[in-house]
Symmetry: D2
């Protein structure tokens, strides 16, 4: 960690700050610049909050040098993490995993039909919302526990493992028993209470990036789960909030190579929610594969025109099948199996 002091800091004050830092068990190296003094902090700075140092009136800037995450860091864990669930090997660079299913679970026939359909097209995991995070309290909130049961029926019919979103720490036990991958939504990425509970779970966690989360904050949320003992975290890029309004959010595909550089964790892309426009799902999906993502989580609906929620971005089974064909075709030359 590097600390820059204000140009006018007296020698006495510099010494006080140095001894304060040394009291935290760190070593300090001093550089006298033309305008100001720069302190290099040597030692384990992961517990230090840069804001704490900024509190000192003589401190002008603080820059982290070492990454604040450890278990999620590729520096300390160079080998790719591969999360195996059913036939999927998420993180295996030779395989591209497609998780597909409807936005919301609606009824037995719907979820079973979609599950069979996406399985036939090549998806290896089934997604479907039982508990739905909705901006409005008056919107449909999902079938909740009944939705979980329906997902289990679809799994029984198809063998596809289930991915679904958790919204409350109270549900962790239930999800542990019923679900194969527990999804944390973008709005809960920094629901630290929930992350801590999931750190004790044994099921893999699919952690969506928050709408305004930096890549570093996203990895720190993964670190929360991993620090609790659950190291099977799958990251999911789903678009960030920017000024652009043509798309619902801006899919940050640059985040994929960034995450691959910084971390050993697998990362998948959600092309459905970011764009909010169905015809964008295919080009975004192809780009996700080309840029090095480990897979996709895609919305597919058997009857898009009547979906209860979020239908704008759902492919119908035919469109999904076409997408899978294009992914397989593109994967061939890249040495990636879909």
């Amino acid at each position: 960690m590097v600390v820059c002091l204000n140009p006018k800091t007296t020698k006495e004050d510099v010494d006080k700050i140095i001894s304060y830092i040394k009291d935290m068990g760190l070593d300090v190296q001093v550089t006298e610049g033309q305008q100001s003094t720069i302190l290099g902090l040597i030692g384990d700075t992961s517990k230090i909050d840069p804001n704490t140092l900024m509190m000192n009136v003589h401190v002008d800037k603080v820059m982290r040098v070492a990454e604040p995450f450890k278990k999620a860091s590729r520096t300390f864990n160079p080998v790719d993490t591969v999360v195996k669930v059913g036939n999927a090997e998420i993180g295996n660079r030779k395989k591209f995993t497609v998780i597909a299913g409807p936005c919301s679970v609606e009824n037995h026939d719907q979820i079973v039909e979609v599950a069979e359909s996406v399985k036939n097209s090549g998806a290896t995991l089934l997604r479907g919302g039982a508990f739905k995070p909705r901006t409005s309290p008056y919107s449909f909130q999902g079938l909740e526990l009944e939705g979980l049961e329906l997902l289990k029926e679809a799994k029984a019919n198809t063998g596809l493992p289930i991915v679904t979103e958790i919204m409350s720490p109270k549900m962790v036990e239930k999800f542990e028993s019923d679900v194969d991958i527990i999804q944390v939504g973008a709005r809960n990425m920094q629901n630290f209470d929930l992350l801590k509970e999931l750190g004790k779970a044994s099921k893999p966690i699919l952690l969506k990036r928050g709408l305004s989360a930096t890549i570093e904050e996203w990895l720190m949320s993964a670190e929360y789960i991993m620090a609790g003992g659950n190291e099977n975290v799958i990251l999911c890029e789903r678009g960030i909030r920017t000024f652009e309004t043509y798309t619902r959010n801006t899919l940050d595909l640059s985040a994929i190579p960034a995450v691959k550089k910084l971390s050993h964790l697998p990362v998948v892309v959600d092309p459905s929610h970011s764009a909010g426009r169905r015809w964008m799902v295919e080009p975004l999906s192809l780009a996700a594969m080309a840029i090095g993502a480990d897979g996709l989580i895609v919305e597919v609906h058997n009857c898009p025109e009547k979906a209860l929620c979020d239908g704008a971005q759902s492919l119908d089974p035919k469109q999904f099948d076409d997408l899978m064909t294009k992914l397989r075709n593109m994967g061939k030359n890249l040495g990636i199996e879909v």
Copy 2:
């Protein structure tokens, strides 16, 4: 709600969409524009998710006309809500409420000293973090339940009601009994599970705006709490995430008159967290009063140089006392009592 169809939509498809909308119990008025057909939806559209309509391939744009919130809306409730706690009347435009205290509760002496000090300077409520949302799992997470006890001791000593942050739905009962205003942090603004629990609580809720939440989404989160039965919601602007890095976040002071126009709920400003620089707290506080905020929530620390967290933005008691004097002085000409 207004729905614009694609230029190429056939008469047949327009009719299908109209009958789909009528099935939802709404009336439709059709306008044939030069390029495209526009549908005006008449009736209660609050349950309709614009995204559901966007799912239809013929739909190009959807614009909400009526506000999606009701209980939080000034249109339906023109009279200002005033939340009375202790001597404070938050929302009374003739009074300016100052909530002050340390970022984190650290020990008995600290919190009692700060409480006495801010009370003497004119604060009417005490803030202090017991459960701390921290980006890193390795950072200090607060004294938790012990912190709550210390806050109660400070309240016993000074009579100042307590404002502190809740992080888990499991703690609602405990907070109901111990705390006077329950704070929801920016990161939990869309933790809908928590909001629903707080809707059942009887204590007022201080709802911070999320880092990337629009004003409408913020009011919808208030609506979640109010829809559950708890109508004592105090909004708190604390800065939004933008590209500017000089300040930690960008305090959106325009949101104050916007909220006052759209809603009857009180709104206070947190000048400490947004800037992340202590010397900005005073000018931001004065601007908050000038623009019409109902009060402030300010960090004050008795020994800023040694604070365990977030000290960068904490005033010391002397600086806080000066701020109160300036607010009182400015309030005189505006007819506002501090």
Copy 3:
């Protein structure tokens, strides 16, 4: 265009507004919603500024239905524009155009060497900065006119047409005679005076998207050039400004399919400037092809470690050659020639 009035607008005021709109030569259709009156404006609304309507105190919201651009619009011009320069056919979906070269032109040997090298690897156009837009007045501003001469020498040696940035309307004549494609930088995207001058030019314009420009504003800037008579505009996505700091800017790849939907103009991607990190150039380039871009503009330097500016993102000739091989390989299965 749809105009929503405030709920409390009187019948008399509604009538005044309607007659005001009719005076502009438009027809109006009125929809009485539950809360408010909605006006549908019928006719040519392209000259109307929504802000002009917002001026009326009774107007609450204005939504454009028809696109504000015409010459750039695919609605009015469904056939893809293909810009032919040298061997390049930018906009031909079966060909992928790669424009390559150094950030800045530095001297004869440098630019000739790079030009030969990128030509051998398969680039069909040479880029190189002669006039450099620099944030600081103290930074190197480019070789200016001398740089243009050196570019011409490189063209004479290799036959590669030249793409370089213009910064002043005073230089249009010079660029017309010396340059093959005139580049408008992101910072000048709304330098309307320059755009108008370029509308009179005969050379194609490569128009970079502004850092905070919406897709619509970008197309409106293209419209400025086209309205002046120059219809050979090539759009270039180069990253937008967001809160994320790991990358210099956030490459908005979703903008590619969006532009293809809204406009018939070709669109290329600049993977070098957005990321600001050399190792990201390759994955971003592959994603650009996969998502449907018409080509790339890539920085290549013969001696990256000594570049005078922006070297962070420049590939060396070997890295560029590898990139071209990967693009060709990927293009095969997509039916795209590189």
Copy 4:
């Protein structure tokens, strides 16, 4: 400037980088951290572009310590710059300058009437657009040279000095002779060619902040003008582009104390353009005074309902007079004369 190297950089490579930096005439101090080596660059780093250093594959992060601006910096020039024009003293902390007038100059009577009216209410400078930057080429572009003549007539009638926007370097001479303060619009903040020309002018420059410009970039644009010899630069905050759509832009009032800390230049606020809603102008103006701005630039129109452009945000003369009364009232207690 501080440079952090990648953890795996070899001793040999570190030495190469050090000698490269020394070749630039700088001294280097090396700190060996736990993970990586940190270099402190000592000397005049203002000409070094951090991106140049980032080009080196071993460089991981670069942090500027010294400010990149000099003439605009308070560090080097601690005394407030006061720009005197007519009766205005912009930058004098005891005086608050109000610049007022219509968005566009439309005709003789309009501009003279508004000028007289705002003068009577206490404005000391007249604003009015002759050359208008419009997103659409089909929108009214201003009366141009005729508009300049009309402004001069209004000045002749009222004695109010004129502030108006320049859009082309070709017009600098004309503006020099006709205008009292030359305004650079937000879209041209990084039109470096124009800034360089204005550096040679003798009239003060009002430099609006770009929609996505950081405070540092804004000050660097001021530095461009000052480096050319024109040190009378007045900064103008007018809102930045964020995700919030309720307001047209987000007025960044925190930028006022930030600029006052970093620079000696005066800074005024434009409350009209940022909000895009007339009823927000008053609260934003009061907040601007409270936070320490040197003045305002406000749109006032004698007949808002018929304005050709941007009327949404224009006050009528009565509303402007009320605003001036409130500013005077508030200024009293702050010791500021309006």
